[in-house]
Each structure stands twice: as C-alpha cells, then as structure tokens.
C-alpha cells in the first residue's frame, strides 16, 4: 500500500542561533557547585536575607535531602546536583533604566526583542539574567494605583508581611523534591501585588535568561490579585546552549482573590540542555478566574503541570497549552485542576506536536471533591505526530468524588492527513507551506489566546521547527 511506504525527509534539528547566543560568562560571583548547608547559608548571606528566610531555606534543604526522586515521568539521570551551580550573580546591579544595563546583557535582551515589546505593549517589565533581576520598570500610573511590581529580593525587604503570609504556602517544600530544592536556593523572580478593584489593562512581563554554564535558575514568582482586580502576566524564558546540563526549578504562586481574574502566559524556549522542572500553582477564591496560556518549545527535559486549586464557589480555570517536542527532547507537560467548591469549573485544552524523535507526554489530573456540587470539567487534548521516529503519550486521570457533576474528556492522536495536504497542494500551495498551515491551524486555539506579539513569536518558533520537515 502506498500510504504505508511513504517516505519522509528526516530533519535533524532547527537553527536556534537567535536563542543560543552565548555571552561570555562575566559573573561577579558564583556559589560553589552542589548543594550543602554552607552553600545555602552563603546564598542567604549574600542576598541579605532576613533570618526567617534563612530558616525557611534551611528547612527546605532538610526536606530536599530526605525526599526521594520522582518515580514517574522523564529520565532525570542527566541531572547531577553536585555539578550544578545554584547561584550566579551577574556583574550588574538592578536598574530601572534600560541604558544602565551592562552592554552585554542589554545586547542579549535586545536580540530577543524584550525592550521593543516593552515599548509597544507592556505595562511593566522585569528581566532576570542568571540568578538576579537586572532590569525592572513599570508605568507610573500603575504605581500610583498601588500596584507593586518588583523583583523578589526587594519584596522580601520592603513588603515582608505580605511575602511572609504567602511565600511557599501554595507550593510548600514538601510538594516534591524540586520544590524543596527551590525553597533552599531560590533567587530572583517577580513579586506583583494588585490592590482591590484595580484593573491592569496591559500585560506585565518578566523575562528569564540563564547564561552561565552548568547553573541553576530558581526564580520565585508571587502574584496576588486582590478582590475584583485583574492582571495579565507574561513570562518568557531562554538560555544558550552549553555542553553541561543546566537546571531550572522555579516556583510560581498565584493568589486570585474573590472576583479577581488573572491570566498567566508563558512562552518557554530554554536551550536543549536544560532540565526544566518548574512548579506553578494558583489558588482561586469565589468567582475568581485563572487563565493559563503555556507554550513549551525548548529544554531537554520538561516537567510542567500548572495546577489550579479552585477553592471558592464558582471559581474557574482555563488552561490552554501547546508543546512542541523535537530531537532529543522529552517534554512532559499538562495541567491539574482541583475542584473543591460548588459550581467550580475547569476547561483544559492542549495540543502537542512531536517530531524528529522527540517525545511529548500529556499528563493531567482532575479532581472533583465531594463538596463540589454542580462542578463542570472539560478536558481536550490533541496530539500530532510528524514522523514515525517520535513518541506521543497521553495520560489523563480523573478522580470524581461528587455525583452532581459533568465531566468530559476527549483525546485524539494522529498525523496530518494526506487528503488535507493533497487538497492544499492541488490549490497551488507548496507542500511545505501546506504542512505549516495545517500545524498553525492545529495550534490556533493557543495562538488565539496570546497577545499578538507572542502569537507571532510562537508562529515563528513553529516555522523554525518545521523547516524542511516534509509530509
């Protein structure tokens, strides 16, 4: 049969030169490799932590040492904690003026288009280089309304009461081994506080870049949206390629109060030697809404499953995710939703693409507690495989403990149909473009959810990934 013997051009990998620019490592200070109490104390001292923070770090370290590695998911054996540098301080001070950012660091962010994005479409931006935030700015009118957007160290110093109340309460160090690791060595990240009733109309953004080889990035993001407020926060990540494994174990804690709405968007394009073991959780109160938009393109291994805890009546979660796994990548992504109160609802919608031997896994959990009367949950995951060298697995779990619920789950797996390609080529579109059009159509639910600049960036990433892949 013809369709069984069809040949495909096998594409090794894409051109990543834009993201893989490797700057000279001009760090001011690097912690010793590995993880010991001395290293943790040293980081804490250099960051001028208050004592309560040092105690939290030490407690997390203890938990880290006691916890086993996960028994499921991707192979984490390339990760040798003894070789990872947990804290790298770039040779730059935090500034609110782009001109003052050291040339080399500025150049990197310029190439990635960060300042342009700020000029055209952002209310504020923070940029983290290695372990420290190097640039931070926010429009004045937001500050006047009481919005706080700052790097996390400043928040610990200037808003200790708020930070103490929320920090690592949603992601306690006991959540899993890498949450404990994060608790011990966290550095940098963003703190956002939106007061009651304030609507931040244009997005805030933070950008993380890891430049030093064999280093870890452990930024902490804490966002609090008070009653009736709203915010869109965008997070972007990248790193150049080195021959040693880098590690990213950030934590994102989002608190969405009564009637508030938070959209958290991420486009992640870490280099292909990154172990991306990131944890993100949102706690949503009555009538609150959390919307996640999550694009995973980079890294060697990713484990990323944003979790929404819907504890207030009528709280809602919308998750939209796209994962593109190529050569040498094992991207294990998905989402979790815990529906704990009446009339809560969750809508999870994902697309995964795998090619050139890449492995994409969709993993999810939906739990409906006995109290969640009239809960609704819809999960839809679709997988597209671009060749027979790749893998695509789906592993959703539903745990329903209430009877008055509507739960639906649907998953599809397959490849681009020959008919669709034939149809488009018969209309004069070349085969390569036809395939790209179909893939773009496949991820459309996600690109629609992104601000236009990011949708364009995502489309560019997809075009780069597809270059040369022929059906």
């Amino acid at each position: 049969m013809e369709d069984l013997t069809k040949k495909k051009t096998y594409v090794e990998d894409i051109e990543r030169s834009l993201y893989d620019i490797r700057n000279e490592d001009r760090s001011l200070y690097k912690s010793a490799k590995g993880l010991t109490e001395e290293v943790v104390r040293d980081i804490s001292k250099r960051k001028n932590d208050p004592d309560w923070m040092l105690q939290k770090r030490l407690e997390a370290l203890k938990i880290y040492n006691e916890m086993p590695m996960p028994t499921w998911g991707p192979d984490l054996s390339p990760l040798h904690m003894d070789d990872i540098v947990t804290y790298v301080r770039p040779d730059a001070k935090m500034t609110g003026n782009w001109k003052e950012v050291p040339e080399e660091i500025k150049d990197t962010f310029d190439r990635l288009g960060i300042p342009e994005a700020e000029k055209t479409s952002l209310a504020g931006v923070g940029a983290q280089y290695d372990s420290e935030v190097v640039y931070h700015s926010m429009q004045k009118e937001l500050a006047d309304q009481g919005v706080i957007y700052t790097d996390f160290e400043t928040a610990v110093r200037e808003y200790p009461d708020i930070v103490k109340q929320y920090f690592m309460t949603l992601i306690p160090p006991t959540a899993h081994k890498f949450a404990a690791l994060h608790g011990a060595v966290w550095s940098g990240g963003s703190f956002v506080y939106v007061p009651e009733g304030v609507h931040v109309d244009i997005p805030l953004q933070s950008y993380f870049r890891l430049n030093a080889a064999g280093a870890g990035q452990f930024e902490h993001t804490l966002i609090i949206c008070e009653k009736g407020s709203s915010l869109h926060f965008i997070e972007g990540c990248s790193a150049p390629k080195y021959n040693v494994t880098n590690l990213h174990a950030g934590a994102v804690e989002l608190f969405v109060k009564e009637g508030a709405r938070l959209r958290y968007s991420t486009i992640e394009n870490w280099s292909r030697n990154m172990m991306n073991l990131n944890t993100k959780r949102a706690l949503v109160d009555k009538d609150g809404v959390i919307e996640w938009v999550s694009g995973s393109f980079g890294s060697h291994v990713s484990c990323l499953y944003p979790t929404s805890v819907l504890r207030g009546e009528n709280a809602k979660c919308e998750f939209t995710g796209v994962t593109f796994s190529s050569k040498g990548q094992d991207l294990d992504t998905g989402a979790s939703a815990l529906l704990l109160a009446p009339h809560t609802s969750a809508n999870i919608n994902t697309r995964t693409i795998s090619k050139a031997g890449g492995k994409a896994t969709y993993r999810s959990a939906v739990k409906v507690a006995p109290a969640a009367k009239d809960a609704k949950c819809l999960v839809n995951c679709e997988s597209l495989m671009l060749d027979d060298q790749s893998r695509s697995d789906t592993l959703p779990v539903m745990d329903i403990q209430a009877d008055d619920v509507e739960v639906g789950h649907e998953a599809k797996i397959g490849r681009i149909s020959d008919e669709a390609i034939f149809y488009l080529t018969s209309r004069g579109i070349d085969e390569k473009e036809a395939q790209a059009m179909i893939v773009r159509g496949f991820v459309e639910p996600i690109s629609k959810a992104l601000p236009v600049e990011y949708a364009v960036e995502m489309n560019n990433l997809i075009n780069l990934e597809l270059e040369g892949t022929m059906g």
Binding site: T394, M398, D403, E410, A411, I413
Partner: protein
C-alpha cells in the same frame, strides 16, 4: 496496620502517586500468585486457523482465574466473561488474548458481583489486520470496589481496536478504570477507539478514570473519550412522573446504558440472569 499487599497489575506508564492509580493489589481475602496459578484456575485455549470459537466464563463461586487464548490467523473468538460472585468475596482474574493476522477477538464482560474486584485484560493485536473489540459493563453498589485495567496493544499493521466501557456507581461504591490503547511503532494504518461512560446514581460514590493513549507511530488514528455525570434529571423526572419509584427509574436508566453491551450476549438464560442480578442490586443496596 496493613499487611503486605501483593501487586497485581499496573498501568503501562506511571503518574503522580497521590492519585493512587498506578498499581492495583490483590484483595486481602484472595490467595493469588501470578507465578504459580493452580492448574484448575489457569485455562489456556486456542482458536484454530480460520475457525470460530465461542467461550463463556462465569464466576459464581470460584473467586479467581486466568484465561490465555491464542487466536490463529483468520480465526474468530467470541468470549463472554460474567462475574456474579457473592457480595462478600474478593475477585481476581486475568485475561490475555493474542490475535494473529486477520483474526478477530470479540470480548464481552459483565463485572457485577464481589466486594472487591481486581481484574485485567490484555489484547495483543500482533498480526496485520487483527481486530480487538472489547465491551464491558460494571455496576458498583454498597461499598463495592471495582478495579479494571484493560490494555489493547496494537503491534500489527492496519489493526483495529474498539474499547467501550459502561458503568454505574451507587451508594458508597468506588471504581478505577484504566484503559490503554498502545500503538507500537510499525502499527501503520491502525485505528483505535476507546470510550467510557459512567452514570453516578447518588453522592458518596468515587469514580476514577484513567484513559491512556500511547503512541510510537504517526500513521495511526486514535481517539478516546470519557464522560462522567449524574443521571439525566429530565429523563428521571419523566420516568418518575409515570408512576415509577426512584430505584425502578434508576434501573431503567442503567439498563438503557448497559444494553449495547448486554445485547452482545447471545445466551438468553445468562442474559436474563444478569438482568435479574442488576435489578436486585439496584433495588436493595445501601
């Protein structure tokens, strides 16, 4: 407090431990060792090339068993498994079917009795054009626990898998259904469908559904769907307004849901026995 449990089955790919769906253990009142199954409980059958064989396995008193069947090229198997054990017994069973080129395995399962059921079914579609068609019903009532682990492995080219599972949960019953479609690399042109429908008859039940789809092959067409919900309230209102009481209405709704599977059982007497059993379970219970 707990004595050491014997691992019985696991899903082909592990996930978060807190969900408690990775493994299933042998119920505490059942003595069962996979490596040393007594000959009486270990049946090995085969269906010869080009022939048709019908087999029925009914568990009424014997709590456990294992059946392994090889279906030769071009042959057809119709297998029915019905489990009607007393409500205080544990149940363990395994069914493994190997399907050769152009052969078909049609399996119909009614998992109804026992205090705790732990069962697994593996259908290996080894040959090109092999067909695996698995339809099952289960009913949980009282404090019953039902644990099903079904896997259809599609290794040959142009194989076809159909898995449909229909269940109803009542009182404080709990159930885990793990259903896997596994497209092995090389299974070009294969199609797999999996569907689960669960009706929840009252609060206090717990339903866990784990529909896996694994693929190492791009030239496949896989689809799975799960729907879990309360009995249709309009339907219920309509039936009770016709003078039927709640348990009769529940029975009608459950039977309507089970019918597409029950219709596959050709033995009239056995079907009547199953229907009687379901009726009794829905009307008493608690």
């Amino acid at each position: 407090m707990e004595t050491e449990k014997t691992l019985y089955s696991a899903i082909p790919m592990r996930t978060w431990r807190w969900l408690g769906v990775n493994e299933a253990y042998v119920p505490s009142d059942v003595v069962w060792n996979e490596k040393d199954v007594p000959a009486a409980a270990d049946r090995k059958l085969s269906v010869a090339k080009g022939t048709v064989r019908e087999e029925t396995v009914v568990y009424r008193t014997e709590p456990s068993g294992r059946v392994t069947i090889d279906v030769a090229p071009g042959a057809k198997l119709h297998l029915t498994k019905v489990q009607l054990l007393p409500a205080d017994k544990g149940h363990v069973d395994a069914l493994e079917i190997n399907v050769a080129e152009g052969a078909e395995a049609h399996v119909t399962i009614a998992e109804l009795g026992a205090a705790e059921t732990v069962t697994k079914v593996t259908i290996n579609l080894n040959g090109d054009g092999a067909l695996g068609d698995l339809a099952a019903i289960y009913l949980g009532s009282g404090s019953q626990k039902v644990d099903l682990n079904y896997v259809i492995r599609q290794a040959g080219r142009k194989t076809k898998a159909e898995m449909q599972v229909r269940g109803a949960l009542k009182d404080r019953s709990e159930k885990i259904f793990r259903g896997t479609l596994d497209f092995i690399r090389g299974s070009k042109g294969s199609v797999g469908r999996e569907r689960e429908e669960v009706v929840l008859l009252n609060e206090g039940v717990r339903n866990r559904s784990v529909p896996l789809m694994l693929s190492g092959e791009d030239d496949v067409d896989g689809h799975h769907a799960v729907s879990v919900g309360k009995m249709d309230q309009e339907k219920l209102f309509y039936i009770t307004s016709r003078g039927l009481d709640l348990s009769e209405a529940q029975r009608l709704v459950v039977e309507a849901s089970f019918n597409p599977v029950l219709e596959r059982i050709e033995d009239k007497a056995l079907r009547a026995e199953i229907e009687q059993y379901i009726e009794e379970r829905i009307s008493d219970g608690k």
